[in-house]
Amino acid sequence: MKKITGFLLTILLLSCFSCKKFITEKPYSFLSPANYFEDGNDAYAALLGVYSGLGENSYYSRFMFLVPTLISDESVTITGDAASKQMDALSYSSTLSSFLTLWRAIYVDIMRANVVIGRVPGVPMDEALKKQYIAEAKFLRALNYFNLVRFWGEVPLVKDEVEKLEDAYVGRASVKDVYDFIIQDLEDAKAVLPDKNPDGRAGKGSVTALLAKVYLTRASSEAAQEGDYKKCADLCKEVIGMSAFHLMDDFQQAIGANHEFNPESLFEWNGDREIGGSFTSAAQFALPSGVYGLVPENATGESWFGGDRDFYNSISDQDYRKASTFITSGKDIDGNDLYYTSWPFPYPSPARKFINPESTTRSGYAFGTNYVVLRLADVYLMRAEALNEIGGPGTEDAYAMINAIRARARHGNGSSVSDYPADLSGLSQASFRDSVLEERKVELAYEGHRFFDLIRTKRLLSVLPKAKEKHYLLPIPNTEILLSKGKLTQNTGW
């Protein structure tokens, strides 16, 4: 018996000594950020994490195109949810979930960029690559802040990785400070990056074009600085002069799932359902429901949103780009051809830019598109706009810029050259301004620019009859105000 008592006591004592070890957590399926960044591969993976963040459903895969297109005059929602309806009708408030989703997604990506910018400098690796990764992360951080400042104006500036909750309570920085931060990041990146990086990653072309857009946008903002238009125009010229980039001959080749990473593309987020990872559902959302013969495998789309009929009608039928943007005919189940006005939901479908007409599967057809954030046609038109603002249409090659885009539209696919739209000449500064905006509307429709163009050019109220002054900025998501412990204030009017 003594033996047994002794045995039991020994067990008890032994277990006590090993207690601490026994209840120490051993992670198996994740790493610790403290000991992760060991070499260049780890640094590269962290950078890819920032790119990957753009492709979240909550960001470029869905909300980044849905929010601006529905609020603008481009699109109407058809079968969309309540949030989509409110955006379409401009009846939203600060509790709209889509805004919260987008706000959060952007800050997630900013954090990932902050991790790279903060931790990669200490990684033992090739110094040139290290600089390049940090530069790309700065480009992405700048893009994120640029989206924030365009949507919401004054926003919290988080410049470092947050490791303690206390550090997450940050108040709103002035628009000027946000722009200064963006410009600094882009200048840093521009000094390091090569003109072009592998497909899907940002190069100097991407950075320069974004910087041009930042100056152009700031120029008409409350933080406008002397010389913004000039800087924009010069930067545009620099991009146009880069040998890696040129306008495609055919507008239809300038954008689309079967023309990815063409020489006109300056920065596109790479998504593809068939390769894996994230993908955009823009095509699936825009394709019409109950219309056949458009999608392989006898499937149909969702009609989540469609082209606004006034918007559609405002574009001339003679414009090659109109038919290259909209799908307007399909078949009913019995195989009869139907014009869009006879579809169950009679709205032209703005899906042509998103689909891959060469794909034979639904997956590749409707979910294979990239999100083109910046392309050269945009840069031409930005330069035209900036030059006009500096000294009217006569300044340098303002006409050359816009007419290059119009000439490409006339060229069509090369087989039947049209005389529409004709070259512009002899316009006043004001009419040239209108013409550039109109050109952007047609050229860049459904590419995520229209909403920001209306805001930049202060046309929101005249284009959207329901818009009020407050609609120039989105409301700060109500949830985030509640979460901020008093640090966040609401935008005027909301």
């Binding site: 047994i4 957590e25 994740f30 890819l48 790119y51 990957s52 909550s58 997630v108 894996g276 006898n298």
Partner: protein, 999 residues
């Protein structure tokens, strides 16, 4: 020991009697003694009255007694059985049936790490015995417990065979940590969390109940520990209550063989009133008109009734159960062996579940001091499953949603007799539900092994050392295939397959010392010990897409050319605990229990891992006082008070560590590469959630214990809630939350139990009833800024919504109301609840009550001769909440609607409309979406007949029964089942015919 002494004495007496008898004329009386279960009873004392002549029955229950006269009276006696006297009356053979009259007070109650007699219990403990559970068809224990014990709210969250069941003891005490009780199965603590492998990334999970591996026919007793004094011995995991399950073990005596089988038919519990084809077409027309689209159906009436999808998707389904068990003793070993086959077809086409279980429990007395006990059970479940949760924004919908939301305009087959694949107007993510359900492959297989070995050694008189090693291992496989031709998601992905495996293994070691001592009127029971438990969990998934065609599906993924999504995950937790408890009694009158447990959990942050959980309870048996005894009223009267602290650690592992994963992939140059990201903000201070509970109780027995009443009042306050709070997006963690110890809530309520033997003669009537009332109130949100379902002063799960007053029929009404000048006719009229003369977002109130106000269960059993009729009703009152929102959303055109939508507002129907129009511009969450989920159910009605032994002397206890489950549900709820809701897999009503044979 007593019994052995008695045997010795009897043997001696017998010898004396025999010697005496030798001198007289002798005859021999013989016979067999059985109990009312018709089991043979060994060891029964048989005595000739007023003499020393006597004997005991042998293993077969037989006795023979030499007597000198043919007159006289025989006395049969046995512990816990009514003593019987029988006049010999010249007979030489007398068979007797003894009746069990075990009093409630003598019942043994299993408490943590020991047992107590009911009369000595100081905590709040409800018990359910095998007898309460038998002859009812059920796959799992929880189904059988429903309504049987006070303070225990059991909700079937899905009707799927083997699906999850929610158990709440005295309300939900946590917000983000688990709220399920701790199960202790044959001494091994077990948290009934999900052990399912993941489903596809499109949300196809089919949550199953891991406890479905336990065969309810093997259960001997269930003891439910509710107050802190009872549960604190399980410290860290006690705050949600503890359910102690003891499986059947062999008893001394000959081999008993039992067969129990039933066969039954199930049906969907009820059908939901939704629109038919012409009504739905009219609705779609109204929608189109309101949204300025062309009218899709010029002649809606011509569509007639269309397809009733509930008839197409649901079917009558059969179920059967067969169980054979053997138990008894051989020498110093006792055994219980059982095998079970359970087969339930699902009421949804192409679903069902089979279970095979095997159990072998052995006890061996190696010496007077040393006993070895062993428990082993193996179970295999094999389910044909369909997705239960609607997920992925309708990419994959549950069977219930499909039955209700699919438009009746769609026909199942087209004119060629093939599945119709033409979407109806407005359908998104279309699929033909019958085609989809019939061709989708879903198979979940689970192997579960549980076992433990206990060594119990008596060191000294009253001092026992016990050591237990137990394991619980589960291995689950999930296989799914969604064909490209018949399912939406399969179509989009070119066929979607899924293979997943998850293996969970849990090991327990427990070493205790118990010491019992009686010193005159003082009685002590002391327990001390330490235990360790750890769990490893590994899962892996593979999700292939782009199959060449649908023929081979998941059984040949080699041909799938899409990039498969793969994942694996390994987690581990461990817990070290020290326990101590003292039970003290003075004169059987004053009872005192004090316990403490110290727990160290791996789940919490360094420096915050240890928690200490003390409790104390006192009992006062007034019935032992002279002045109460003099009343002659009470057989027992006991007052109890307890207070203690318990904890909760049911959160995921690793929450206190910063985490980096490499799943953020991105395509560079056509190649998919891994990217890294941080997943959560670490909380370096994470620690235990604590519940402090006060309980005051009273037990009383009257009229020779024919009537027993119990009453308990409790208040349980939970602090330092393990609460996943929203953090600002500026943290960089987006919508992911951070786990904190913050906020508090309480649960308060009372429970009443009543059992009564109302009639006790030939016609017997037993009644047992329980009533529970619980109120949950969130008292502080702590660091959390609040969410859409948490409001201080209300129960967790309450949502904020407007108060809906009706439809604005016309402009006049809008003008007259005045508070909603922007409204249009057909819009919703809302109340100005704060009375500020304006209607705004501030008028939203917390609406809905997520938990019932009270629940009760009543069982009546009537017996006459061999017939027993049991009627069991159960009710839940006061739960209100929302349901399938699409069925009730006038702005949505993608799905069918409740029948009430025939009265939707349209310009033509403006004056009589009762439902807002499809063009409603102010549709928002309101009481319009709230339904009353109170119910009164006839849970079980059962008629059984036990054959008299004389009719089938070659068999033991044999009975047939007819049992009906859920035959009647009374409720205002518009969906399938107010208990379960309508989103998932509907519940069933069942009729079974069963047979019980003993050999």
């Amino acid at each position: 020991m007593k019994r052995i002494k008695l045997l010795h004495f009897l043997a001696l007496a017998f010898i004396c009697i025999s010697m005496q008898a030798g001198a007289q004329q002798r005859t021999t009386l013989s016979g067999t003694v059985t109990n009312d279960q018709q089991e043979k009873m060994p060891g029964v004392t048989v005595k000739l009255k007023n003499t020393n002549t006597g004997t005991v029955t042998d293993e077969q229950g037989r006795y023979s007694l030499p007597v000198t006269a043919s007159e006289g009276t025989l006395v049969f006696s046995f512990l816990n059985y009514a003593t019987q006297e029988v006049a010999i009356g010249g007979r030489s053979r007398i068979d007797i049936v003894l009746k069990n009259e075990e009093s409630k007070l003598d019942e043994v109650v299993v408490v943590g790490y020991g047992t107590l007699q009911r009369k000595d219990v100081t905590g709040a403990i409800s018990s359910v015995t095998a007898k309460d559970l038998e002859n009812q068809p059920a796959m799992t224990l929880e189904q059988l417990m429903q309504g049987k014990a006070s303070g225990v709210q059991i909700t079937q969250t899905t009707g799927a065979p083997g699906g999850q069941i929610e158990v709440r003891i005295r309300g939900a005490s946590s917000i983000n940590a688990g709220n399920e009780p701790l199960y202790v199965i044959d001494g091994v603590p077990y948290y009934n969390g999900s052990q399912d492998p993941d489903g596809t990334s499109y949300g196809t999970t089919t949550p199953t109940n891991a406890l479905a591996s336990l065969n309810p026919n093997d259960i001997a007793s269930v003891d439910i520990l509710k107050d802190a004094s009872a549960t604190a011995i399980y410290g860290s995991r006690g705050s949600n209550g503890v359910v102690i399950i003891t499986t059947k073990r062999g008893k001394a005596g000959g081999m008993r063989v039992n067969y129990n089988g039933y066969f039954g038919v199930q049906q969907v519990v009820r059908k939901v009133d939704v629109m038919n084809a012409s009504q739905h077409a009219a609705f779609l027309n109204a929608w189109a008109a309101a949204n300025n689209n062309p009218i899709p159906f010029p002649h809606p009436d011509s569509l007639g009734k269309g397809t009733d999808w509930q008839d197409e998707i649901f079917r009558p389904a059969v179920m059967q159960n067969h169980q054979v068990s053997m138990s008894g003793s051989m020498g110093k070993s006792r055994y219980y062996i059982s095998g079970n086959f359970y087969d339930q077809e699902g009421i949804v086409i192409n679903t069902g579940m089979k279970r095979y279980t095997f159990r072998a429990n052995f006890d061996q007395d190696i010496s007077d001091r040393l006993t070895v006990s062993e428990t082993f059970a193996y179970s295999k479940t094999d389910s044909k499953s369909v997705p239960i949760n609607g997920a992925g924004k309708g990419n994959v919908r549950s069977a219930g949603e499909r039955a209700l939301l699919t438009s009746p305009i769609l026909s199942v087959y087209d004119s060629k007799g093939e599945f119709n694949t033409v979407p109806w107007y407005g359908a998104t993510k279309f699929e033909n539900p019958v085609a989809s359900l019939q061709t989708t492959y879903g198979n979940l297989q689970r192997d579960n092994v549980t076992g433990n070995i206990t060594l119990s050694y008596k060191l000294l008189d009253g001092l026992v050392a016990k050591s237990l090693v137990g394991v619980n291992m589960t291995n689950t496989d999930n296989k799914e295939y969604y064909p490209r031709s018949t399912t939406y998601i399969g179509g989009v992905l070119g066929g979607l397959g899924f293979l997943a495996n998850r293996r969970v293994s849990n090991v327990l070691n427990e070493n205790t010392l118990t010491y019992s001592k009686v010193i005159s009127k003082h009685k002590f029971d002391v327990l001390g010990g330490m235990t360790t438990q750890s769990e490893k969990d590994f899962s892996a998934t593979n999700q292939p897409t782009l199959f060449p065609d649908d023929r081979l599906g998941i059984n040949n993924i080699d041909g799938a050319t899409g990039v498969p999504m793969v994942s694996s995950l390994k987690t581990q937790w461990s817990l070290v605990s020290f326990i101590g408890r003292v039970n003290y009694q003075y004169a059987g009158k004053y009872l005192l229990t004090a316990s403490i447990r110290a727990d160290g959990s791996s789940k919490f942050a360094d420096g915050h891992k240890w928690g200490y959980f003390p409790s104390v309870a006192a009992g006062y048996r007034l019935s032992e006082e002279k002045f109460i005894k003099q009343l002659g009223l009470f057989d027992d009267l006991k007052l109890r008070v307890s207070y203690g602290v318990t904890g909760n650690q049911e959160v995921g592992s690793y929450q206190s560590l910063p985490r980096l994963v490499t799943d953020a992939s991105y395509i560079v140059g056509g190649q998919l590469l891994s990217g890294a990201r941080l997943t959560s903000l670490a909380n370096r201070d994470l620690t235990w959630e604590e519940s402090k509970q006060l309980d005051v109780g009273l037990n009383a027995s009257f009229l020779h214990s024919r009537i027993n009443v119990g009453f308990d009042y409790y208040k349980k306050r939970t602090e330092n809630l393990l609460f996943s709070i929203d953090i600002p997006a500026t943290s960089g963690y987006g919508s992911s939350k951070a786990l904190f110890n913050t906020g508090s809530l309480y649960n308060r309520g009372f429970e009443v139990d009543l059992s009564a033997a109302l009639l006790t003669h030939d016609f017997k009537w037993d009644l047992s009833a329980n009533f529970s009332r619980n109120k949950s109130v969130l008292t502080s949100l702590g660091e959390s800024p609040g969410t859409t379902t948490l409001f201080v002063g209300y129960a967790p799960g309450t949502k904020l919504g407007q108060v809906y007053l009706g439809v604005f029929h016309d402009q006049k009404e809008i003008d007259a109301y005045g508070l909603q000048p922007d409204a249009k006719p057909g819009d919703m009229k809302f109340a100005d609840t704060n009375g500020d003369g304006k209607f705004t977002g501030d008028d939203r109130l917390p609406i809905g009550t997520p938990m019932p106000k009270y629940i009760f269960g009543v069982t009546n059993t009537f017996s006459y001769k061999g017939f027993d009729l049991t009627v069991f009703v159960e009710s839940s009152v006061g739960r209100k909440g929302d349901d399938i929102d699409l069925l009730n959303d006038p702005t949505d055109l993608t799905s069918n609607k409740y029948k009430k939508f025939v009265n939707i507002w349209t310009p033509e129907n403006a004056e009589t409309a009762t439902v807002p129009g499809p063009g409603v511009s102010n549709y928002s969450y309101s009481t319009f979406d709230i339904v009353d989920r109170s119910y009164f159910k006839l849970r079980n009605i059962r008629l059984s007949y036990t054959f008299p032994h004389s009719l089938i002397p070659f068999l033991g206890s044999t009975a047939v029964y007819l049992s009906g489950e859920n035959l009647i549900t009374i409720s205002d709820y518009p969906g399938f089942d107010p208990e379960t809701g309508s989103v998932g897999y509907p519940t069933t009503k069942t009729v079974v015919l069963g047979l019980n044979i003993g050999f």
